[in-house]
Symmetry: C3
């Protein structure tokens, strides 16, 4: 009987902590962090400050795309009104205020503060927390209409969490400031990948396949993405913690004939951006040379 009560207490504490965590409201602080990180991402783009001074309305529109892109994309995917995000006056005004102080504050006080590492880390960590809430929100919303269609749930959860990247790319493409070569569609970035993993996990949990409570999964997933994000920012490394899993999955699904010399392109192992294999690098280098020549 030794350790029984203690294990029970541990479990109780864990239950309490994760339940409390899953009830944390996003509204004022986490949303502010998300808007701040999104608008700062916009500001760090080439020419964004000049656009803000020449045509504030376009800059405001871009900022809203950065802040609410995920919601817009998931609304489009579900055939709902893309302007629905404007219904929430408070959040739009909050995001607009942050856009205003980031771009027009005298002496760039906000940008200077944002450069201070602890502020940046805190904001980035809090933004990652909103990612979990978005995935859960997207899946819950989609499941009211598409109960059994687990692929729809994954798509909507993913779109709400990572769709901002897609919408922003599209918007920049239409404005002419983005070239498809640098496409995030083709080279999936780490946030896009981790959002997909999250959407799959929460969909499995929703359909009852994953033997885990929702609040526990929320806690674990959030813990993982926050720690990973902060670790990646501190070490400034580009290597994603998903790479080993990707390689394993790639070998399982597509790599049976890896060592078969007859099957031409199979020599390159399965990898997206994580680990650049030789053929890909050669291709990129050839492109760079070509670009240099034309310049």
């Amino acid at each position: 009987m030794r350790g029984g009560p203690s294990a029970f207490a541990m479990e109780y504490v864990w239950e309490e902590v994760t339940l409390t965590f899953s009830r944390v409201p996003m509204f004022p602080f986490f949303d502010i962090a998300h808007y701040l990180v999104s608008v700062m991402t916009l500001r760090q783009q080439l020419g964004a400050v000049a656009v803000a001074w020449q045509n504030p309305l376009v800059s405001w529109f871009s900022a809203m795309m950065h802040c609410f892109g995920g919601g817009i994309l998931s609304a489009i995917l579900l055939g709902e009104a893309p302007v629905k995000f404007l219904e929430n006056n408070t959040n739009v005004l909050l995001a607009s205020s942050i856009w205003y102080i980031v771009f027009y504050c005298p002496y760039d006080i906000v940008s200077e503060c944002y450069r201070f590492p602890p502020v940046k880390l805190l904001a980035a960590g809090m933004k990652e927390v909103t990612r979990t809430w978005k995935i859960v929100g997207g899946i819950t919303h989609a499941s009211s209409n598409y109960t059994d269609a687990w692929m729809v749930l994954v798509a909507v959860g993913w779109a709400r969490a990572a769709g901002g990247n897609v919408i922003v790319s599209l918007e920049q493409f239409l404005r002419g400031t983005w070239k498809p070569e640098t496409s995030k569609l083709l080279k999936m970035s780490y946030p896009v990948k981790i959002s997909l993993v999250g959407a799959v996990l929460f969909t499995l949990q929703h359909s009852g396949t994953l033997p885990m409570e929702k609040h526990s999964l929320m806690f674990c997933y959030t813990f993982f993405i926050v720690v990973t994000k902060i670790a990646m920012m501190l070490t400034e490394s580009e290597s994603s913690p998903l790479t080993p899993f990707e390689i394993m999955l790639g070998r399982m699904l597509f790599g049976f004939w890896q060592n078969d010399p007859s099957s031409g392109p199979c020599k390159s192992s399965f990898n997206g951006t994580g680990t650049r294999s030789k053929p890909y690098s050669i291709h990129v280098e050839a492109k760079r040379r070509h670009t240099k020549k034309t310049e």
Copy 2:
């Protein structure tokens, strides 16, 4: 008591006139003017006549985008069917007939007639009248679903009145005949700006903030845009009557630190296309030089 009955009569006449005006049906004549101006805009584009002779279906599709673009964009924003405009058989057939006679009439009779200034002025003036009706229609339609979301009302009213420009740009972009440099998204044209002002005014009226009757506002706004449009066409000037307000608003919102030498890009005053400030012109010239070199 002097002037009392006269003032009362004046007010009565004003009430009568504006009420009658607000009940003018758009259907045959104003719609024809709108379709005529839209299709003539298409015809004056480079290569449009050649496309019409080589592939009439594509030309017809472009003409429909020019005529019904605003309705399509507002339907997309509200998550409704973009093909809804095809439901109104009469209007589509009317627009198609105008497209047909504009492009295929022997000896280009219609285009020649359109060059005659009074015809052009009348058509342009009548087209501006439809703008008011579109803003009001968009706001009324959106308010049935989104009562309190005033930002949604502004967005839908604006999209219905000025969305044609956006849809047409997108369509030309996809066809490869439009470069993002000349984007109307970035350099908002005068019709786009005045539609935004109208959408804001009618939304304020709708929510009861503006102490004015709907029909009076319709009369005043229409009067203003028609007179402005005709004046701009007669004087062939590009300067918009909104420029002073824009500069004032810009100074109020973004220009506190105008004369502060430390805040770099703030030197350029707030202005879109209206008044080209120095930094912008320099940028444009630099671009032109660069383009010449690469050629």
Copy 3:
């Protein structure tokens, strides 16, 4: 009374055959043929195999666009959820399996088999059969909401049958692997044209204008498109059987003033891609020369 019973028997047989034909389920075999042809079209594109090995998820996404593009476009046109196709788990898994074996099968067994002409002809013929079912399905689906709007029915029927081409072009355009010059939007391909004809015919039948039973029309239309497709594949000719009708229609609608020397561009007869008239070829050649120079 001679011939009476025989004619009756013939009619009965015809009725039986067409009715039985119209009840053939698409699910396993015809759908497989459609997915196979669509994925093979993707595979034959330049660089598609390399993308499949470097980033399987993007390749899978492209394959789904090729297989379900028509359904996605018609859903967008009707303001429904574009992800609705994911609801049908079985079909998505079937299409995914075909994508998997086409791209990753050792020794490219599937691609090699597909090169064998009878297989190719059979698959192409069966794919054409699904076209009829898609047009009928689209019109039936749209008519539940838009009963009298025959233009909406045509648009949705056409979009479901030929929309894959449009969605795929858009997707390639956004990925940067497609130039608008080769646009299928401007030069309508034969499948796009024949789908339009089919959509018009079935809409006429639906509204009761065409004195023909639905199942007879399905049989005749399918017979026509299958025979035409196989004949075109066997003779490897590019000339479409619709060209004479197009020229006739063009003369009727746009060609009254053909021989009138005063009406400049009218000299070129009405023709899309079918018959390349002189002015168009000259334009194309001039373009080619220009391209060479810039290279």
